[in-house]
């Protein structure tokens, strides 16, 4: 077997380098954590510009807005008195001008929109 030439200085330097690397490595590492955030937006429909109060303006056909990605179907229009009672059911296709003519000016129109699933 060949003899082994040992240089103590070389071994000492290597040992110091290894020790330094071992000590430094954990401190350099990052700690990582994740958290998840969830939420839900329910499907809803509402009437666009429901606060039109200027009597001088003609009654426009109310427009429904829905937040669903799928199409929706407006099924009917309800005329609601100031006390909240139902005055009249109108088909969604009814002419609002003609329908409103027979109602009190303080009557509210409520559009019921049914999602088309």
């Amino acid at each position: 077997m060949a003899p082994a030439n040992v240089n103590p200085n070389l071994i000492a330097r290597a040992a110091i380098l290894l020790a330094a690397l071992t000590a430094a490595a954990p401190a350099m590492a990052q700690d990582v954590q994740q958290i998840a955030i969830y939420g839900e937006v329910a499907p809803r429909c509402w009437v666009a510009e429901p606060t039109q109060t200027n009597a001088a303006l003609p009654v426009a056909r109310e427009r429904a807005i829905c937040n669903q990605a799928r199409p929706v179907l407006a099924s009917e229009v309800r005329a609601i008195a100031v006390d909240g009672t139902l005055v009249k059911r109108l088909p969604a296709s009814a002419d609002p001008l003609a329908a409103a003519a027979s109602l009190s000016p303080r009557t509210a129109l409520e559009i019921v929109v049914t999602p088309l699933l």
Partner: protein
């Protein structure tokens, strides 16, 4: 003549010492049976320095989830407690996967598929000092402008100057008021993932 003799003996002694030191510095070891010297003893001086240790304490990492139904109308707020284990100054950074709560539902003109929310950081040190900052989640996405956006390192993240090794009331807060954006939020399931990193800060 006597002086020369003394000088000669002195020189001989010096040479002897040098020769013996050289013999100690360079030793040849042989396998058993191959030579007189079979082992070498080497004195190794080990020097090491330990830099500041920093991370989440055991059980102190922010964890859990929030799941808020109807958040567009109610808003939400939730605190995630943080306990650091940092023996020196530290930095903490946050990144958002979506830059807001996003849904996979189809959008369109007049509709929005990403809901904004805010992320606040409050970190406190053992000596009573603290650091705090708030950013919109949009500013925490890749390349975001938030002061603590990204991955924590020596120069990135909210810096806490003092050591923090116990429960000091640090937290990460996510919150959003009721949605008031111009475009309508599309109905559906929304989500986002926040990644929080902590690092030593020299």
């Amino acid at each position: 003549m006597g002086f020369l003799r003394v000088l000669f003996l002195l020189a001989l002694a010096v040479i002897s010492v040098i020769a013996s030191q050289h013999a100690h510095a360079q030793v040849t070891a042989y396998a058993v049976g191959q030579g007189a010297v079979n082992s070498v003893e080497v004195g190794v001086e080990v020097r090491a320095s330990v830099l500041g240790r920093c991370g989440f304490a055991t059980g102190g990492a922010p964890s859990g989830t929030i799941d808020q139904a109807g958040f567009d109308q109610s808003g939400f707020i939730k605190d995630f407690a943080i306990i650091l284990n940092c023996t020196g100054a530290s930095r903490i950074a946050v990144s958002s996967a979506n830059g807001g709560m996003a849904t996979s539902e189809a959008g369109g003109a007049g509709y929005q598929t990403k809901a904004p929310y805010n992320v606040a950081l409050y970190v406190a040190a053992d000596n009573g000092t603290n650091a705090t900052a708030t950013c919109a989640a949009a500013a925490l996405a890749a390349g975001g402008s938030c002061s603590f956006a990204g991955t924590a390192n020596a120069a990135t993240g909210l810096r806490l100057a003092g050591a923090s090794t116990k429960a000091n009331g640090s937290y990460l807060r996510v919150s959003a008021p009721a949605y008031t954006g111009t475009d309508t939020l599309v109905a559906g399931r929304y989500s986002d993932t926040l990644t929080i990193t902590v690092s030593v800060s020299p």
